[in-house]
Each structure stands twice: as structure tokens, then as C-alpha cells.
């Protein structure tokens, strides 16, 4: 109940700040681009668009929203209500996953892309957005200014996105399998490429483990710097 209330507010907050309009414009634009592309390029383009733009945005958006709430001392007043930190964080994350997943599915539908591996794909889109969002929150817990936050989170974002080099077959190393992004790139790519079941299962497991690690890290940082700042 408290979670739903917080999530509803976050969605309305994002709506009033124009995020849904921005995403609508982008979604339509990407659908047009995908429809104009030759068939062989549609699937890789879809993977790259979702990976780089739709999902990775969580980095920017959620983190910046938290920064703004901190700047206006809103977190202070939220945490003197029964709302728990866990619920606060989940509301932020779920509200953004809703937007990112909605946009990803609309792009897919609009570009008439589909396939039997859809479940894997959706899992990949959701978790891709999730992982980036968590990374963003880690930095948002302490950054003082939006620019400060951008620069630091962008640096970290580029770093964890390195497996994209393997995806475009420029450079590969087994080390990439440690990265959560290697897994999301596999799952986002299942519609156009055949992957072994083991590879898909590995990706899901990797993402779940990363979710647990990053999730508890975010919780601890928020508990220390936002919930009980001293």
C-alpha cells in the first residue's frame, strides 16, 4: 500500500516533469528509424537502441530525480512517515522500469518485431534498465550537483558498458562475462540471434546476482547518506 502510493507519486512526478513526453517522442522516432532500416540491420539496431538509450537512461533520470528530491529536502519529510527506505527505493526503481519497459515494448510492436524468445527479451529489457538504475542510485546517494552526478555516473556507465565492444565484435575477452551488461546484451539480442539455452540461463543468473549485489549496496548507501545523514 505504501509502496503503491510512493510508486504512483513517482510516476505522476515523472509525468509532470515531461519524462513521458520525452519518451513518447523518442519511441516514435526509434520506430520510424527501425522501419526505415534494411532487414538485416533491424535486430542489431533494436538491441543497441534499447541497450544504450531506453534502458541506460535510468542512470540519468532516476538519479537526477533523487538528487532533486534531496535538494528540496523531500527525502527528509518522506522518512518521518512510516514509509520505509526499501519501499522508497523500490518505488523509484519500479516507476522507471515501468516507463522503460513500456517504451521498449512499444518500439518492438511498432517496428513489428517479435519472436518466440520474447520472454527472454523482456527479462533482458527489464533487467538492463534495472541494473543501470541501481548504478545511477549508487551515485545519486552522495552527489551534490546534477553535473557532478552526470559526470561520475557517466564515467561508471561507460565503464560497465564495455561489453558492447564484444557485441559489435571489435574486442572480446572472457572478463566481459563478469559484467552485467554482457548478460543484458545477450538477452536483448535473442530475437535476432540464436543463443544456446545455457548462455541464456547464465545471463539470467548473472543478472539476478548483480541485482542482489547492487541492490544491497544501494540500500546501504541510502541508509547511510540519505536516510540517516550525519
Amino acid at each position: 500500500m505504501r509502496l503503491l502510493a510512493a510508486m504512483g507519486q513517482d510516476i505522476r512526478f515523472q509525468f509532470r516533469h515531461g519524462f513521458y513526453y520525452a519518451y513518447a517522442v523518442l519511441t516514435i522516432l526509434y520506430i520510424i528509424v527501425l522501419r526505415l532500416l534494411p532487414d538485416t540491420m533491424v535486430y542489431p539496431a533494436l538491441t543497441l537502441i534499447l541497450f544504450s538509450d531506453i534502458c541506460a537512461l535510468g542512470f540519468f533520470f532516476i538519479g537526477a530525480i533523487v538528487l532533486l528530491e534531496r535538494g528540496q529536502n523531500l527525502t527528509e519529510s518522506l522518512f518521518v512517515t512510516p514509509l520505509r527506505l526499501r519501499e522508497y527505493l523500490l518505488a523509484k526503481i519500479l516507476s522507471f522500469l515501468f516507463l522503460a519497459t513500456l517504451s521498449a515494448l512499444l518500439i518492438m510492436l511498432g517496428a513489428s518485431i517479435g519472436g518466440q524468445d520474447l520472454m527472454w527479451f523482456v527479462f533482458g529489457a527489464v533487467f538492463s534498465a534495472l541494473i543501470y538504475t541501481l548504478f545511477g542510485l549508487i551515485f545519486a546517494a552522495r552527489a551534490r550537483h546534477v553535473n557532478d552526478y552526470f559526470v561520475k555516473s557517466l564515467g561508471a556507465g561507460l565503464l560497465i558498458s564495455l561489453p558492447i565492444l564484444a557485441y559489435i565484435r571489435l574486442f572480446d575477452t572472457p572478463l566481459f562475462y563478469i559484467f552485467p551488461t554482457r548478460a543484458t546484451l545477450i538477452l536483448l539480442d535473442v530475437l535476432g540471434t540464436d543463443y544456446a539455452l545455457s548462455e541464456k540461463l547464465f545471463s539470467v543468473a548473472s543478472l539476478l546476482i548483480w541485482f542482489l549485489i547492487l541492490g544491497s549496496w544501494v540500500y546501504q548507501r541510502f541508509n547511510k547518506y540519505v536516510r540517516h545523514p550525519a
Partner: protein, 284 residues
């Protein structure tokens, strides 16, 4: 209601304590005021009492609950208005209150009635970004009352209010006391402390120098004299007369009977005088 023993607190890596051994208790149903200049440790104390600052030394119990072991249940029954009004600026006053009300499991008060009580009913559907400072302070106060709190913390509740709204705010705070609620106020405004608080604590440099009822303090530190201003022909005369055995004081009777009196005052100390006298500091 609140019992605090030997409370120490230091911020972050500061080696020096911001709070240096506070001892006080707040009774059920009273209005307790922390009075002191900015930076004295008032807000820090309040942040500890509401569970925001954790790593303190000493013992603090609120409602019989040890604050070191607090859970979110605690927040069902307290209300807090921070010094800086923190509200969603792109949302209306009503939307803000309705949003915060959803977090409580118990009965919440009707947001519209709360807004009406502080004179904001006309502006209920106005976005907070279009509010003036004083309007935000009033809305912030409404939010702290949403959940029918038994214990209310108000940080500088009258900052930025015009005289009319100041009066209104004071009577609302007294109304909460009449309901049997306990209220903890921090302020540097002597007038507020004087008219509202049952007891005040003077706090300077992280230490409490004195706790007592404002009236008692004023009498204790004042002089038992009456000060009269009266007209003698064209001249304005001032005279001080001891208050003891006033009825049989000849000078006093003479003036009462034969002169035109302009003012009469007793010379009890103002709360500000007491503060300066006991702490050696001014309130600014």
C-alpha cells in the same frame, strides 16, 4: 513522553561534539520549547528525537521506546514540520497532503479541513511552486498534523509568517495541546516561546543551561517594582514603586488620586533578558 539522559552527538568526522551532554524530559501534553541562537544544537536535538540522526551517545526514549531500536511503526504517531518547507512544487497543496496521507495506516485528518484551518482553502488547488514563503510554512504545518500525531515536532513554526497568520498559527498549536497532544518546538523567537511554551530549555553551544516555565523565569529574574508614567502639568514623570504593600504606599496613592496616569508596568524580566542573563549570549 520523552526522556533524554546525557545525550552527546558529533557530526560526521567532527571531533568536537555538537551536543554536549543534554538532560531533559518532556511531559505528556505539554508544549516544550528549545530556545537558542542558530547553530546552538536545537535542530540537531530534534533530528535525534525523530530518529533521523542515529549515532548518538546517551539514552533517548520516546513514548517508552528506546530510540536506538526504532522501527517505522514509530512514525505512525509523530508529526514533523521541518524548518525549510519541503514539498512537491509541481503538485498542488491538496495533492501534496493526499500523497503523504497515504503512508499512514491509522485515520488521517481531512486535508481540506486542515487547509481551511490555516486559511489556505482558496489555494488548495494551486501548485506549491506558486506559493509564498508564508503559505508554504502553513502547508508544511498541515502536513505534520495529517496522521493525528500524539507527538508533534515543529522546527521554527512561525518563520516568515505575517502577524495575522502568526496569531492563527499560535492558536492552532494551542488547539493541538488542548487535544492532549505533546508538542516540541524549536525557535529563536522569544515571543513564540513566551506565549506558547509550558516550559522552555535554553540551549547554547550544545548545552542546556536552564529549563523552566517562562512565567516563572520572568518573575524570578525580574524586580518587584511597578513603573509608572504620569503627567505633571506639561511634564512627563516616571517613577518606580516597590510592589510589596502597594496598597498602603503613600506615593502611589498620591499619584493615583491627583495625576493623569499614562502607563503602568510591572518590572518582571522579559524572557530575552533572562536568556541573556543566564547564557551570556544574545539570541541572534
Amino acid at each position: 513522553m520523552i526522556q533524554v539522559n546525557d545525550l552527546h552527538f558529533a557530526y560526521g568526522s567532527n571531533t568536537q561534539d555538537t551536543l554536549r551532554g543534554l538532560n531533559f524530559h518532556i511531559n505528556d501534553g505539554e508544549i516544550f520549547g528549545f530556545l537558542g541562537p542558530s547553530g546552538a544544537g536545537k535542530s540537531t536535538t530534534q533530528k535525534i528525537l525523530i530518529g533521523i540522526l542515529k549515532n548518538f551517545r546517551g539514552s533517548v526514549s520516546v513514548n517508552g521506546l528506546d530510540l536506538q531500536k526504532l522501527n517505522s511503526e514509530f512514525y505512525e504517531s509523530i508529526g514533523v514540520a521541518f524548518e525549510t518547507p519541503n514539498l512537491y512544487t509541481k503538485f498542488t497543496a491538496l495533492e501534496n497532503l493526499e500523497f503523504f496521507a497515504q503512508f499512514y495506516t491509522g485515520m488521517t485528518r481531512n486535508p481540506m479541513e486542515l487547509l481551511a484551518a490555516v486559511g489556505l482553502e482558496e489555494a488548495a488547488r494551486t501548485r506549491v511552486s506558486d506559493y509564498s514563503k508564508g503559505m508554504k510554512v502553513r502547508l508544511n504545518f498541515c502536513r505534520s498534523l495529517l496522521n493525528n500525531p500524539r507527538l508533534i515536532f515543529l522546527d521554527e513554526p512561525t518563520a516568515g509568517l505575517d502577524p495575522v497568520n502568526l496569531r492563527k498559527m499560535e492558536s492552532l498549536i494551542l488547539e493541538e495541546k488542548a487535544r492532549g497532544n505533546t508538542i516540541c518546538i524549536t525557535t529563536h523567537d522569544m515571543h513564540v516561546a513566551d506565549t506558547l511554551c509550558d516550559r522552555v530549555a535554553f540551549i547554547v553551544d550544545g548545552e542546556i543551561s536552564l529549563i523552566d516555565a517562562p512565567r516563572k523565569l520572568k518573575l524570578q529574574h525580574g524586580q518587584r517594582f511597578l513603573e509608572l508614567e504620569y503627567r505633571d502639568g506639561d511634564k512627563l514623570e516616571t517613577i518606580s514603586i516597590p510592589m510589596d504593600n502597594l496598597g498602603s504606599n503613600k506615593t502611589f496613592q498620591n499619584i493615583l488620586n491627583n495625576y493623569f496616569i499614562e502607563t503602568i508596568h510591572s518590572r518582571e524580566a522579559s524572557l530575552e533578558d533572562v536568556f541573556v542573563k543566564t547564557t551570556g549570549r544574545s539570541l541572534q
